[in-house]
Symmetry: C2
Subunit: 516 residues, 2 copies
């Protein structure tokens, strides 16, 4: 269970948290993941958490959840003692909490470079790129469908950032590749162009299994059976429906001892109640059922408790993102996940803006900080989204990864020790002088403050005369191009590369193209 | 003492928090102030807070604070038992905490419209415009020195927003008015163009007294002696120096039973240590001394414990704003202020960007959310700043007031009751259907979600075809012009108006122009 009381001065600072030297950090590899040194932000009392759990229990017992097109899932539920009538499954209060108690509170997802392994759960925080947009956009060419080249570009941008920890999954849809073959190119690209941990396909059971098979080529079959090396992000068809495609993929990951991320998608007022407390109760019920199904498939398999809350505009009926209600609701989801002792995926960097402008960063940060505050362990969608999740923006991606850098310093909290308390500096400097050159400043200035690579901090005159009066989006446009131009792929064992290519070629050859 | 444990379901929701109807809210008057319904975000343990207080005590006892050019302040300290040697004053540990214990934990600042009175302290949150920029900027005319017309424009924009609660003080410097006469025009303009509470001058003792005299004309002399009607924001000359101009103004406000806001200004590494814990200890010591001086001048006078932390760029040595270290440090300042049982001013909306772009909103929100999280009661600088505090931006001002609206919903937290838990909706809708037209949605949708007036939430095609592909700054440019065009001054009693004009004319006639 993660500490919810104030925690400071973590002992493992050498492994995570602030890097030892900030200078030149943009070129550094960064830390493999963050260990938070600030508490979670808990907004509800235990009494109210119990009320929400109580409504979730009533939803599960009185309304139930439909499991469609997956007879094996229904068999699992029957064996576990749930009430199964056709596709509708109802659960006695407490039953699902009991079942999920066999899932690990923390686990390691292995990367092909062991120095990049991520620890998911507890006080650990992992930033991963956004996931699932059909479109990409940049300031030069505007919005268009994503391609495999775009997909690879975003992997390269992610790999080049010291402030992300994970390569993600479907960073954008490579729409130029047939639907039934995309997963092969995507998984191969993650392995080829990144040395970080990654995610596989969930759009069909056989694609999930292909993804895991490719991970077996990389890591070895025995290793994969004993360790988590790939994640699959499965969505509930909210409200209260689990589709067979999703539960079959979920079970494929669990069966292979790999981690499914279980995520309802609730636009308040459409797929769930328009009020936060009810939407959270529904989400809790839907996620809990998915998490429990992983344990029925394979007891002890890792699983991540996921969540996605959203709001809508009164004026247009459009979904809205980065708004206050989902942000504050995420804190409650975090509290509930910790009561289950499960790793959490919650919130991320969301915006409805169509440009990398003020709206984009305001909405993105409100949403992203809620992920940080609520104690999310795996923060999918940490970078890139615009256009209400429909587009990956090249500029926004590098603006967001820069923000992820700032959040490393934020999560490091306030260290209190003899050095940071600086009594020696006060005795040396005294009233009315300055600290610019004092010993304490010289000893600490290189690691004291986050220094953004994209923010302009020059005086106005210098910004306008020498800096070209640029806005952040313009600087970001230059930054992603420079990063792609300088990218170098991390070396991959040639035999593994060949085996993966061979697997992809064989699989593709055995299928006709499908475009839906 | 404000509750630091989770609090929900405040009973006075009709007075503050979310307005009953969100529709047409842009034209509504809004709530007079917010009562927070979420806990403060406390990041440090009591053990570490005590360590910081301990270093502050050592700074006060071993290094001391200089009080320059104010013999009466030194006399106060001598009578109180401090060690006074020349301008240097040193204090026994605990002495200042004892002295400030006579200041009120909460107080009301009266507005000329009693419905606009603000309650400062406890769970209350008051948003006030930014303060002190010499420049103004907009997208049409760029950056230039502020004028009295700009000053009045910003008062009108503030008055027109339902999401601010206070008219502020020196919203921008009216550089076209002589330095020694500005305060008269500024205080008059606040009274004339706004019906909200406001701030007076602190740049000289006689200007502070003029400001208070004008408040006496508005409220009556007896009323002013018994009630707070004006605030004065006084700055420490960090490190560890209080200038006589400031302490004389501070004492003028306290003597009149008006509230001084006591604010160190620490750029880490320059006016204080480069590490957060030490900068916070210094700030605490400096503020505590100022707060105590108000109580020596007049026991029981209201005072606000203020703070301003900042960071700097390693690359340029420039100050940086909206960065993670001051944000997280602000939470600690909040914890320390609550241990003193004093109202808090902390953080605000700061950015170094020269444009209302992504940088501006990212930095602004990181900083502004820290004010909200740390429990600040009076949030000066809630709207308008760009350019590292040097410019007030017309566009940023309306973008920030819109954000302040979102923060009303954020601070309302998650309400847990039978309605919000929505069990009736789940029983009505069931699995696989939608909540769009169900009774629960119809009953709640109008108040469920914040709806920004400036964010674009349309689908991409509508945004690009009908919306002109605008960014947020462009929409803000249109919004402030429309608001100024539609502004109507709140009615002011004619006799009071005449008396104030007469006061200003007489005072100005008695002075030669001074431009420094």
């Amino acid at each position: 269970m993660v500490a919810t009381a104030p925690v400071e001065n973590a002992t493992r600072r050498s492994r995570a948290g602030r890097p030892a030297r900030r200078e030149g950090a943009a070129k550094a590899r960064g830390v493999p993941y963050i260990q938070r040194n600030i508490p979670t932000y808990d907004v509800l009392s235990e009494e109210n958490l119990v009320k929400i759990e109580g409504v979730a229990d009533r939803i599960l017992a009185e309304v139930g959840i439909e499991f469609r097109d997956d007879p094996e899932a229904l068999e699992h539920w029957k064996r576990a003692g749930a009430k199964v009538e056709g596709p509708l499954v109802r659960f006695e209060p407490g039953m699902l909490r009991e079942i999920v108690s066999t899932a690990p509170a923390e686990f390691t997802q292995h990367a092909r470079d062991p120095d990049r392994n991520v620890r998911i759960g507890g006080r650990n925080v992992v930033f991963s790129p956004a996931y699932g947009s059909p479109f990409v956009m940049d300031l030069d060419k505007g919005r268009r469908y994503g391609t495999l080249e775009d997909f690879r570009n975003f992997i390269k941008l992610a790999q080049s950032s010291p402030w992300l920890h994970h390569s993600g999954g479907t960073i954008c849809e490579p729409v130029d590749v047939p639907v039934n073959k995309r997963h092969l190119d995507m998984v191969y690209s993650h392995i080829k162009y990144s040395d970080r941990a990654f995610m596989g396909s969930i759009t069909a059971e056989e694609r999930a299994e292909d993804s895991i098979d490719m991970a077996r080529i990389l890591f070895g079959t025995d290793f994969v059976d004993r360790n988590c090396v790939i994640l699959g992000n499965v969505n509930v068809n909210s409200p209260l429906v689990w589709d067979g495609t999703m539960t079959k993929s979920l079970r494929a990951y669990a069966r292979a001892n790999q981690a499914a991320v279980i995520v309802p998608f609730i636009l308040g007022g459409a797929m769930g109640p328009v009020t936060n407390a009810g939407a959270i109760a529904q989400s809790y019920a839907e996620t809990l059922a998915g998490c429990a199904l992983t344990q029925l498939e394979r007891k002890g398999a890792p699983v991540i408790f996921g969540n996605f809350l959203s709001s809508m505009s009164l004026r247009s009926g459009s979904p809205t993102f980065g708004t206050p209600e989902p942000a504050i609701g995420s804190m409650v989801v975090g509290q509930l996940a910790r009561r289950l002792n499960l790793p959490l995926r919650c919130a991320g960097n969301f915006s409805n803006s169509k440009l990398p402008d003020g709206q984009a960063m305001q909405e993105g940060l409100m949403s992203m900080l809620s992920a940080v505050h609520c104690g999310a362990n795996f923060i999918l969608h940490s970078a890139g989204f615009l256009d209400g999740l429909l587009s990956m923006s090249y500029e926004k991606f590098v603006m967001d990864t820069d923000l992820c850098g700032a959040l490393h310093s934020y999560l490091a909290g306030v260290t209190v020790d003899d050095n940071t308390l600086a009594m020696d500096a006060f005795l040396q400097v005294g009233p009315g002088s300055h600290f610019l050159g004092c010993d304490h400043t010289m000893r600490n200035y290189q690691t004291a403050f986050w220094d953004s690579a994209l923010s302009d901090n020059e005086p106005f005159e210098k910004w306008s005369e020498e800096g070209g009066s640029t806005d952040m989006a313009t600087r970001a446009n230059a930054a992603w191009k420079k990063t792609l131009a300088e990218y170098e792929a991390p070396p991959l064992d040639e035999a593994i590369d060949e085996a993966l290519c061979d697997y992809v070629t064989r699989k593709k050859a055995a299928m006709a193209d499908a475009w839906y």
